[in-house]
């Protein structure tokens, strides 16, 4: 249903996201994991046509055969909030402080043609379903978790085909986090779930993409990728997130994530990889069906 092919995001001459390709089927939940600086947020913004000034995207992204990338704002505007919508990371600042919550939910519907009265009725229904039955409240009167649930209501109001979540629970307490994830699992259609938290992505998604340095380095069914990672970066990630027995050192990936534009040529991970070889100066392509990885010397 969503088909992304060769998505590249550039800021001037700097490539921030390179040749990202993936598909999402109807009703499928796909996770996109990576650290800060991996390009995952930019990928999401590119799909929504919300890239900041000076940043452009090329490549193709088709949602139900409708192009999302490379089309003028006028066309993307129509799709945003209606066919594809997004929930952002920071609930505290995502809502207009001078507007009542119910009005903000209704807005996304009336914007796309729903008559006022219908929008109002549906708003009440949505708010009830996410558990925040306070349409006349102002955002500052709600907690972070409540605000995020309102954001979810807004995102799902027009029954989009794809919901993109960019770290939706990172700013929330653990218990609230759980509620939010359950809601998403219950209400959302197809989901692209972006996060750096492996446990969270495992509880919601069936498939996962691992990003590093603006590229997809591994992808596949969650269970497989987490229990049997092939790319060295994924291997390091999984190892670092496991609880270690007492007395042992926490495994880490040596080095730090380079700044944009300072990634090595060839394999993006080569400068931090313990298994790097001369062949790694050639960029590996994603290979494998189902469980794919881009590495010359994968773990086996």
């Amino acid at each position: 249903m969503l088909s992304v092919e060769g998505l590249t995001v550039r800021a001037d001459d700097l490539e921030l996201v390179r040749q990202v390709s993936f598909d999402i089927a109807h009703g499928e939940r796909v996770g996109l994991i990576g650290e800060s600086g991996s390009g995952k947020s930019l990928t999401a913004l590119a799909l929504m046509g919300l890239l900041p000034e000076g940043v452009t995207a090329t490549g193709s992204a088709l949602l139900k055969d409708q192009p999302l990338v490379g089309v003028p704002e006028k066309r993307v505007k129509d799709l945003r909030g209606r066919v594809v919508s997004m929930v952002f990371q920071e609930p505290m600042t995502a809502l207009n402080p001078t507007m009542r919550v119910g009005a903000q939910v209704a807005e996304v519907m009336t914007l796309h043609g729903t008559p006022r009265a219908d929008a109002r009725a549906r708003t009440l229904d949505l708010l009830r379903r996410v558990g925040v039955e306070a349409p006349r409240a102002y955002p500052h009167q709600l907690s972070g978790g409540q605000r995020q649930r309102v954001m979810l209501a807004i995102a799902l109001a027009n029954e989009p085909s794809l919901l993109i979540c960019d770290e939706p629970t990172t700013a929330l307490d653990v218990t609230v986090q759980k509620q939010m994830l359950e809601l998403i699992a219950e209400l959302a259609p197809a989901v692209l779930f972006i996060t750096h938290d492996l446990a969270v992505v495992a509880s919601v998604c069936s498939r996962v993409l691992v990003m590093y340095g603006g590229r997809v380095v591994e992808s596949g069914p969650i269970r497989e990728v987490f229990t049997n990672p092939r790319h060295r970066y994924t291997e390091g990630l999984i190892a670092a997130s496991r609880l270690t027995p007492r007395g042992t050192r926490l495994p880490t990936i040596s080095g730090t994530v380079p700044a944009a534009g300072e990634f090595p040529d060839g394999c993006v991970f080569s400068n931090r990889c313990a298994h790097a070889m001369p062949t790694c100066s050639q960029e590996p392509t994603l290979q494998g069906e189902g469980h794919a990885y881009a590495c010359w010397h994968p773990r086996d």
């Binding site: 929504m48 952002f88 001078t98 807005e107 102002y138």
Partner: protein, 312 residues
């Protein structure tokens, strides 16, 4: 909300009272005796005494103060020691003129600043926005009376299109009234507009960076649509604060502009009063101006609460 209003009203009252004390104390420091000033140096002690009794200046300061304040509350500003005419009516008459001047100036300032500031913010990266910023910088550096002189030069001296001064009441001749006020309004308005442009630009820029604008766009709004529907009300909050301050500045600017254009407003009255050492008159006018400023602040506080639900 109610509490907020009550607190603000209490502050207003307290400030007014304090201002009254300050103004009175100030004028009480004025050296010289009004009776002497009125009768001249050669007056007999008895005549002076009699006049003092008539003026009420022989009583202790506190009594005079209470008397004055009591009068103020009922709108009686007393009778001038110098001209022997009641001060209240003079102030009332002139206040209307000054008010017209100030409101007109404010209107022009807003008409200039809101579009210019918004434009400068939206285009803050390209030369056009920078140009507007530059213009507003220059505008700030020009005092209102200089702008007045410049405008008089262009429109009255060169073009001979508008009068260089004088005032015609609306009742007498509406079109002449307008013409006599046009240049003064522009002098005040353009300068204040430049100042306001900077604040509008800054407020809109701040709002442009806010997350809720991104949310609005995620809903399907375009850039301008999001700014218009969500940004404006939020940007208005800091701008309204400044408006209040600006109104006070405008009030004072009006005092000077009245001199430039020979307009019979409060400022003119004040300056004449000082020149003639008309103590009671000056007291009354200053009090009037200060109360006006305090009232404006109060109204701004109210507007603040209306615009920003977080305050209620």
């Amino acid at each position: 909300m109610i509490w907020y209003l009550v607190r603000r009203a209490a502050v207003l009252l307290a400030s007014t009272a304090a201002a009254g004390v300050v103004v009175f104390a100030f004028m009480a420091l004025l050296p010289g005796d009004p009776a002497e000033v009125a009768l001249g140096v050669n007056a007999t002690p008895e005549a002076l005494e009699a006049l003092r009794r008539q003026f009420g200046t022989d009583r202790p300061a506190l009594a005079q103060f209470l008397d004055w304040v009591g009068g103020l509350v009922t709108g009686d500003f007393g009778t001038s020691y110098v001209t022997s005419s009641p001060i209240g009516p003079q102030i009332a008459e002139r206040f209307g003129v000054t008010l017209t001047l100030v409101l007109g100036g404010m209107a022009i300032a807003l008409v200039v600043a809101v579009p210019a500031g918004t434009f400068a913010a939206v285009h803050h990266r390209n030369p056009l926005g920078a140009l507007i910023s530059a213009f507003s910088q220059v505008g700030i550096a020009v005092p209102a009376f200089l702008a007045g002189i410049l405008l008089v030069f262009v429109f009255a001296v060169q073009a001979q299109a508008l009068p260089s001064g004088g005032y015609v009441p609306f009742a007498e001749d509406p079109s002449l009234w307008l013409r006599s006020l046009l240049l003064p309004w522009l002098s005040l308005g353009l300068v204040q507009g430049a100042v306001l442009t900077r604040y509008v630009r800054s407020a809109v820029l701040d709002v442009m960076r806010e997350d809720y604008l991104r949310t609005a766009r995620a809903k399907g709004r375009g850039r301008m649509g999001a700014l218009w529907r969500h940004g404006l009300r939020n940007a208005a909050i800091p701008v309204v604060t400044v408006l209040g301050l600006q109104l006070a500045t405008l009030l004072i600017g009006a005092v000077v502009v009245e001199r430039v254009f020979v307009i019979p407003g409060l400022g003119d009255l004040l300056l004449n009063g000082v020149a003639q050492r008309d103590l009671l008159l000056v007291q009354g006018v200053v009090m009037m101006l200060v109360v006006a400023v305090l009232l404006v602040n109060f109204v701004v506080d109210l507007a603040y609460a209306v615009l920003d639900p977080r305050l209620r």
